[in-house]
């Protein structure tokens, strides 16, 4: 390793001109990246990670930003050091994509939808390397092989939307690597992806780095990913660098309060090993002397039997149903009063559909749902409306699940208006108390959702769900979109409510570490079926189904000492859940492993 850094950021300051005056995106950040090194930049949303990286590419200007201070020194192949902060755009164009490559967060939107993968891959090559069309295509093919995309020849001719998210992200990576850049900037390259795919992508970047010796600036807010990838870590907080150090230093002996708080908020897989019941997290600065486990009761609240939900796929000349999406297939489970059942699984496995089917927000095809003994499936619309008094939902996206045009108090009051459970001053008081309950200041009553942060919004959503005093809350990825620290707070809030009010949760998530933290019972879903279910302890400590085992392996652990290698990964692509109309899948049969631990024995598709 050369000790001459490839890029040095010195006292970077970036401002954005907005209507409300100048906004400082990055205030004062300095760090450097050495050849062959992976520097992870971590911090919460809005802390300036992306802005720093875009500044290095001089792309902030296109978003309305301006570098108003500091230097960005980049060591060019030829010609020594260049201060990117003052270089002109023509020069930058020869550096971008050539000497510095960049991978973006959203694989879904980072590719131009109307050009083929091949075209987009070869563009940079032809510009920077002056290759002919054929040469460029040959190189593109090579790149696709390098990032291990199956059937690379075919992919070249495909459009981005024809690829899965993971494959798209691989294409983006191939694109960034096309000209063998000396510095690779990866801005949250895996945030939008499933754990299994995340694991593969991380392994891929790691391997490429090792093979090519490229320096990597890795931006993320996920401490577990940092632990997996980084050599050194830069922690950012509200536009400033607050701490820098090697991974070990940061994880073992964080210095800055913020870093400490951040690390304390990260749920680590395996933390709960040996504990029977979930317990709230110990957050830094919160004076919780004792964390009480949440026991719940042993009475059944919700019993679901053989629930099946299918979505018709229309097609053909007469728009008839030609096939069905088997979203939920013969699913049975029970939730006990005051306890949490979690459903985990990869994207598209039917978790949300199962949750929505419970409230009949999507109409299940068959099966039985008993809530407190009441047969939900047998209800008419009026009865169903009443039954929903006892079941509420909290959704994944706090930005989307609140009406942007309604005051928060009204949104929380709305369920009570609808059912007429409270009126007038009573209602007013109830809303205030709900705000207190979810720890939102009463000054927020008259505010609008866009004035709140994500975590605050999720609290509003929870308050709304609580308004009708339900017995069961279906939390569909309720914390997935939140920053770790906020996520921890919301999780604690939920657990606290459970302890205090005896609520039951159906907790839907793809994050194994979070699930481990909150659940009494866990169901692992794959392709619409539950492949393994049991008490959390049983499933996490003794996974039986091969899919569960693979899933556990893929989850990155927020501990630099427990890194995983690429060789451990072995994922099959998920088969399609679409089947012709006359297809009748077999019933699920389970093997009892222990008292409350079952494993699917029939074919799951895995």
């Amino acid at each position: 390793m050369l000790d001459h850094p490839i890029a040095r950021i010195e006292n970077l300051r970036v401002e954005f001109e907005t209507r409300g005056g100048n906004v400082v995106g990055v205030e004062d950040v300095s760090f450097s990246i050495n050849p062959g090194e992976t520097v992870a930049v971590v911090g919460e949303s809005g802390s300036g990670k992306s802005v720093s990286s875009l500044s290095l590419m001089r792309l902030v200007e296109f978003g309305g930003g301006k570098i108003t201070g500091g230097h960005l020194l980049f060591d060019r192949v030829k010609g020594g050091e260049l201060d990117i902060a003052s270089a002109d755009q023509d020069l930058m164009r020869t550096i971008r994509g050539n000497e510095i490559g960049m991978i973006f967060q959203e694989p879904m939107t980072a590719l131009n939808p109307v050009f083929t993968v091949g075209r987009q891959l070869t563009e940079g090559l032809r510009v920077h390397k002056g290759m002919s069309k054929d040469q460029a295509y040959a190189r593109a093919l090579e790149l696709l092989k390098q990032v291990r995309i199956p059937e690379p020849e075919r992919r070249l001719k495909q459009f981005p939307h024809e690829l899965s998210g993971g494959m798209r992200q691989r294409v983006v990576i191939a694109m960034a690597l096309a000209c063998e850049p000396r510095l690779l900037i990866a801005d949250e390259p895996t945030t939008a992806l499933d754990v299994t795919i995340q694991a593969e992508i991380l392994a891929l970047i790691d391997r490429l780095k090792r093979e090519t010796g490229t320096a990597v600036m890795f931006i993320t807010h996920d401490m577990a990913v940092v632990a997996q990838m980084a050599d050194r870590v830069v922690v950012m907080y509200r536009g400033n660098k607050v701490e820098e150090g090697t991974v070990q230093e940061i994880f073992d002996s964080p210095k800055h309060d913020y870093t400490k708080a951040l690390l304390a908020a990260v749920p680590k897989l395996g933390e709960m090993t040996g504990k029977a019941y979930p317990e709230p997290m110990r957050l830094l600065g919160v004076d919780a002397d004792e964390v009480k486990p949440i026991v719940g009761s042993e009475d059944d609240l919700l019993v679901v039997k053989h629930l099946t939900t299918r979505f018709p796929v229309k097609g053909g000349f007469f728009r008839r149903t030609v096939a069905n999406v088997h979203a939920v297939e013969d699913v049975s489970f029970t939730i006990k009063k005051g306890q949490t059942l979690s459903l985990v699984g990869e994207s598209g496995c039917g978790k949300s559909s199962a949750g929505r089917s419970l409230l009949r927000l999507v109409e299940p095809k068959s099966g039985h749902i008993y809530l407190d003994g009441k047969d939900i499936m047998a209800l008419d619309q009026g009865g169903l409306r009443k039954a929903r008094l006892d079941m509420q939902m909290v959704f994944q996206d706090p930005f989307a699940s609140l009406n942007p045009q309604m005051q928060l108090a009204d949104q929380v009051a709305e369920p009570m208006w609808n059912y007429g459970t409270k009126k007038g001053a009573d209602l007013q008081k109830a809303v205030e108390r709900l705000f207190d309950r979810v720890e939102l200041p009463r000054s927020f009553l008259r505010r609008f959702p866009h004035e709140l942060s994500g975590g605050q919004r999720q609290r509003v959503a929870i308050a709304r769900a609580l308004a009708l005093n339900p017995k069961l809350i279906v939390a569909d990825e309720a914390v997935s979109a939140l920053d770790v620290s906020v996520q921890a707070q919301v999780l604690n809030l939920m657990m606290e409510l459970q302890a205090d009010l005896g609520l039951s949760f159906l907790f839907i998530s793809h994050d194994m570490a979070v699930v481990e933290r909150v659940s009494h019972h866990v169901g692992v879903m794959y392709l619409g079926r539950i492949v393994e279910m049991g008490s959390r302890r049983a499933v996490f400590e003794n996974p039986q189904h091969p899919y569960t085992q693979a899933l556990m392996k893929a989850v990155p652990v927020a501990d630099p000492a427990r890194r995983k290698g690429e060789h451990e990964l072995n994922f099959k692509p998920i088969p399609s859940p679409i089947h012709p109309v006359d297809y009748e899948p077999a019933m699920s049969e389970y093997r009892k492993v222990a008292d409350d631990h079952i494993v699917l024995t029939t074919d799951s598709g895995y």
């Binding site: 792309l59 994509g97 131009n112 939808p113 050009f115």
Partner: protein, 335 residues
């Protein structure tokens, strides 16, 4: 895609039949009388005879049925006959105009050239002007160019053609005497000189029409460009080190054109529909003028046929726009 196309095509048949019926009922309900324009010296009994000879005595369903048969069965035969010199339609009565007592379709075909020339040229000119303006305005949003462009297109939007048309006639034809004020539909182009004559008589109507269309299209183009300029893939393209020109004119433009192309396709029926007011002002006796005179003369078969042809074109180009959308945007699949 093909199934989609044919399914939509099939579905549009009942829609069109219904439209035909509605237009027919509307026109039938409409007050007015084909003999109203005749001099008062023609006595009422004669008027009544004229009405009878126009077929007005027959009950409504029969008239509608007759029209349907004539339009959908006989007229296509006439078309085939004229192309292949066959004689399918011999002896069948066609859709006759009440004003001219001649087949409506013949007149429509006769009127097509001037309408296509003038309105079509205006449309092309407008596209050629509007797209670059829209692209550049969006790229330099809120720049002077954008502001001026916005202002000009807004003005183009706001000045009704019956105002601007008369204004340019007074300026260029009457005061300056540069251009003819009356369009000559009999003019034929066969050499450079006659071409120049044609050009001169087309300048004013094309200018007035193109101003309007340009205004609309450039606004559209600008909005569409703005939508796409903020997309992530643009940043990706820039991160590849592509030239700004390539980024904008290849990556962004290609995406922005998708909605614009469909808007352009949706505007095509207007070309065939002619521009009622502009044609009137410049005496370009095209389809638009045909429609308005037919309405004024209560020439129901003519109005019915013309409006129905527009309806068909609108439905058809709606479909074409959808198909185009699917062709241009690989994400969209109709199946």
């Amino acid at each position: 895609m093909l199934t989609y196309f044919f399914r939509r095509l099939l579905l549009s048949i009942p829609t069109l039949l219904f439209i035909a019926l509605v237009i027919f009922l509307l026109l039938d309900l409409a007050p007015g009388d084909p003999t109203a324009q005749l001099p008062l010296t023609i006595p009422p009994e004669v008027r009544e005879q004229i009405r009878q000879s126009l077929g007005l005595g027959e009950p409504l369903p029969i008239r509608f049925w007759k029209w349907l048969v004539q339009f959908f069965w006989i007229e296509p035969q006439v078309l085939i006959d004229s192309i292949f010199n066959t004689h399918f339609s011999a002896g069948d009565s066609r859709v006759l105009s009440w004003q001219t007592r001649s087949p409506v379709m013949d007149i429509v075909i006769q009127r097509m050239p001037q309408t296509l020339w003038v309105v079509g040229t205006a449309y092309l000119v407008a596209i050629v002007i509007a797209l670059p303006i829209g692209i550049y305005s969006a790229y330099r949003q809120y720049s002077i160019f954008d502001n001026v462009g916005t202002f000009v297109s807004m003005v183009g939007f706001s000045v009704p053609p019956f105002f601007s048309g008369v204004l340019v006639i007074v300026i260029f034809a009457v005061n300056l005497g540069w251009l003819p004020s009356i369009y000559d539909t009999t003019h034929k182009v066969y050499d450079w000189e006659t071409f120049m004559v044609q050009l001169r008589q087309m300048i004013m109507p094309v200018m007035v029409l193109a101003l309007q269309i340009t205004a609309q299209l450039s606004r559209f183009m600008r909005a569409s460009m703005l939508d796409n300029l903020n997309q992530d893939y643009v940043r990706t393209a820039r991160a590849k080190g592509l030239n700004e020109r390539v980024v904008v004119l290849v990556h962004v433009l290609r995406n922005s054109m998708i909605p614009v192309v469909t808007v352009i396709a949706l505007g095509v029926p207007q070309i065939f529909g002619g521009a009622i007011i502009t044609e009137q002002v410049f005496k370009v006796n095209g389809i638009g003028q045909l429609l308005i005179t037919a309405i004024q003369a209560n020439d129901i078969p003519m109005v019915q046929t013309l409006t129905f042809i527009f309806a068909v074109l609108i439905v058809l180009f709606n479909l074409i726009a959808d198909v185009l959308y699917g062709l241009l945007d690989p994400r969209i699949r109709y199946d």
